[in-house]
């Protein structure tokens, strides 16, 4: 069904990183210094290292440095934490034209070409980092952050009301975040506790697990021609779960999960729930089991949109999960 481009794959083995296609000359360094003259010295250093070695380890520093250069000085402090979920538009004030400036500079620095269609869905700093990383490694492009309303969530999830504890979510290949408002109408609050409705900690863990399920269905980049089967996902275990805050009707739970390990048939996540700025629940590990089935039809159109041919050689992990270790 899916035929990897063998010629492409073999040429990649000779020159594993795009930037190594031609040696980095002193003239290149002068040009690089010029285009990065308004970026921090560490950005320049990282760019030089990348251009010399082609090692993608240097990419996050380059990307963050380039983004920082286009962010208004008073907003730059936000980038210090380098949080991947910082949103380019809403949090950093970067409009679509500035995004284009960033891309042109990145293209210049990393000597790559980025298509307009590839840009449209890069919403967060994490999206941008993951995108560039995949581009350089020649991996399939990660799925961009998707914002999912309740209708969409309910249509894909095996879990349904009244036992669905996500109102809205955003999912990318890096993880997922979501919200759940404790309405007070939840059936179990009638008995938990008597005359004192408190969200059960077990249900909060369940909510995190549900978000992890949503990630597997919507965020994971599966093997070509395959999809994650919603009927094959089950809970297997959890570690280091601690509750820090009593949550009651009216509280809005901010849920987040990130994949830590993904190896068929197990997916392990870390998770957290906050209410406003307050920590509510931490789970060091939540592990689910899952499985693939053949995609129904139309995998070709999906592949076409990914742009970069995937490689299915034996030294590639079975999951193209595109989890960027940061």
């Amino acid at each position: 069904m899916f035929m990897p481009d063998l010629a492409h794959t073999s040429s990649q083995k000779k020159a594993p990183f795009i930037a190594l296609a031609k040696p980095f000359s002193p003239e290149d360094e002068v040009a690089l210094r010029e285009v990065l003259k308004r970026c921090s010295p560490s950005t320049f250093e990282a760019a030089v290292q990348f251009r010399k070695t082609g090692n993608p380890e240097h990419l996050p520093a380059v990307v963050i440095g380039v983004v920082e250069r286009y962010v208004e000085p008073e907003l730059r402090v936000k980038l210090k934490d380098a949080a991947d979920d910082l949103r380019m538009i809403e949090d950093l004030g970067i409009d679509s034209l500035t995004m284009m400036e960033i891309v042109i500079l990145v293209e210049d620095v990393l000597q790559m070409t980025i298509n307009n269609e590839e840009l449209r869905n890069l919403r967060t700093v994490g999206d941008v980092k993951a995108f560039i990383d995949c581009k350089v490694r020649g991996l399939p492009l990660p799925k961009p952050t998707k914002f999912l309303p309740i209708e969409h969530i309910a249509s894909v999830m095996p879990i349904q009301p009244p036992f669905l504890f996500i109102n809205e979510a955003s999912v990318s290949s890096l993880g997922a975040s979501g919200k759940y408002k404790i309405s007070g109408q939840e059936f179990f609050l009638q008995g938990h506790f008597k005359d004192n409705p408190v969200m059960p900690a077990s249900i909060m863990l369940e909510a995190l697990g549900q978000l992890a399920v949503l990630y597997l269905l919507e965020g994971l980049v599966p093997e070509p021609g395959k999809v994650v089967a919603s009927t094959m996902i089950f809970f297997t275990g959890c570690e280091g779960v601690r509750a820090h805050r009593i949550c009651k009707p009216g509280d809005i739970l901010s849920l987040s999960i990130k994949p830590k390990r993904l190896k068929m048939p197990l997916a392990t996540f870390e998770g957290a729930i906050r209410v406003g700025q307050e920590k509510a629940v931490i789970a060091e590990e939540i592990t689910l089991t899952f499985g693939f089935v053949d995609a129904a039809v139309e995998p070709t159109t999906e592949k076409a949109s990914e742009g970069t041919p995937s490689e299915l050689s034996s030294d590639t992990p079975p999951l193209h999960a595109a989890v960027v270790s940061s």
């Binding site: 308004r38 208004e72 034209l97 500035t98 284009m100 400036e101 042109i104 293209e107 210049d108 070409t113």
Partner: protein, 419 residues
């Protein structure tokens, strides 16, 4: 028909970056010329330019530009600007302050903005070069909006949140006089109550040097001799850049806001030579008609005009065409208006010229003086029959006529009146 007044001015010019300095330069006939460093190469035959001081815009990256400390620009604002966009933005800020306009006076459906500039050949060249050398997709997304003709309206309308009429005028060196004329109409027709008129030019190497190919630039190396309209020895014009902004307002607005205008705009006219793409009609045929139209529009006779701020750029043919046109409209039988060309001080501002010299005319009417025509050592005999004003006179004029002519034989004449 509503009357129209000039209530605010802003200048970034070779002879001053504010009204006070400009007025002093006009009174004392202090020119703004320098040997232009970018022309200091053996293969470039012309050397003198009316330079804009206090700014550095000879860089393709706007973040490398420098400007006086009195202004402050964010990157997001500057990244879409041509050099003359920066000048115009500064001049517009001055004009708004000068006219005592609040934010709501600037941004409303009854306030518009007309502009004129020749675009930015400098940035156009840079971006086209990137297309050729690096490929189309490596070009800045701002290449177009920062460089094409129209860059002024794009930038200023967005930056100042203009909601009324806006467009650009392109009739070469008559452009900003056209802009002023049509802005006047916009108010007299009752469509707008306030109009900003903006003229600006880069005035850098790429904007000026192509005129050398037309053999229209002065090759003098002495700044005192390079620009001398009406002089027998003139040998071409000196280029200049910068920006001028005029605020035009209806009488109702002037009364309502209680401001004292510089002068009244009483009428204007235009006519075309229909003769040559680049050379003015030898008798100044179109300009004659334009001046007559302007007088009729202003409902005054030739005797009313005290001073003509001529278009005269210091070219061999152009100056004499204008002299002949003036002689035809102001025959020996009537009182002769004084005539001078302030381009002897500033150089020729191309699309900026009409607005800049209308601004000078407004200063002259408000402060009661007539600027002289500098740098004349021997009057061209062909100028006999017009009253050339060689030194600045502190006689207050009541009516001033401003002429402007551009390529293709476009001619505009505007009449201003003391208030």
């Amino acid at each position: 028909m509503p009357r129209v007044f000039i209530t605010g001015l802003g200048f970034i010019t070779s002879i001053g970056n504010d009204s006070t300095t400009v007025e002093q330069s006009l009174r004392h006939l202090s020119h703004g010329f320098e040997l232009y460093p970018a022309f200091n190469r053996p293969e470039i035959p012309c050397k003198v330019v009316g330079t804009v001081k206090g700014f550095f815009t000879d860089a393709v990256d706007q973040e490398d530009w420098r400007y006086p400390d009195t202004y402050s620009f964010k990157r997001e604002l500057m990244r879409t600007m041509a050099p003359h966009g920066l000048y115009a933005h500064c001049a517009l800020l001055q004009a708004i302050k000068d006219a005592r306009l609040q934010e709501a006076d600037v941004s409303n459906p009854a306030t518009g903005l007309y502009t004129s500039s020749g675009g930015s050949p400098y940035l156009t060249n840079y971006h086209h070069n990137r297309v050729e050398t690096l490929g189309v997709m490596r070009c800045s997304p701002f290449g177009i909006v920062s460089s094409i003709v129209g860059t002024l309206n794009f930038n200023l309308v967005a930056a100042f949140k203009i909601h009324g009429s806006s467009c650009g005028f392109s009739s070469a060196c008559a452009s900003s006089a056209h802009a002023l004329g049509f802005a006047f109409d916009e108010i007299t027709l009752g469509r707008q109550k306030r109009m900003f008129v903006v003229g600006a030019e880069d005035g850098n190497k790429d904007a000026i040097l192509p005129f050398a190919g037309m053999r229209t630039l002065s090759l003098q190396t002495d700044p005192q001799l390079a620009s001398r309209p009406f002089d027998k020895g003139r040998d071409g014009f000196v280029g200049t850049g910068g920006a001028t902004v005029l605020v035009l307002e209806s009488e109702d607005e002037v009364m309502k806001r209680g401001v004292t205008p510089y002068c009244e705009v009483v009428g204007w006219g235009q006519a075309s030579d229909g003769y040559n793409v680049a050379i003015s009609h030898p008798e100044g045929a179109g300009l004659q008609v334009a001046m007559k139209h302007a007088l009729a529009s202003a409902q005054v006779t030739p005797q009313h005009i005290d001073y003509i701020n001529a278009h005269a750029t210091s070219t061999l043919i152009g100056d004499i065409s204008e002299v002949k046109a003036i002689k035809a409209v102001f025959p020996d039988s009537v009182k002769k208006p004084w005539v001078s060309s302030t381009k002897a001080l500033t150089g020729h501002g191309l699309s900026l010229a009409g607005a800049m010299e209308s601004g000078f005319s407004a200063l002259a009417l408000k402060h009661g003086f007539m600027p002289g025509s500098a740098h004349i050592t021997e009057v061209d005999p062909a100028c006999v029959g017009i009253a050339l004003l060689r030194k600045t006179e502190t006689i207050a004029p009541s009516y001033i006529m401003k002429n402007a002519s551009g390529f293709g034989g476009a001619n505009v004449s505007i009449v201003f009146k003391k208030v």
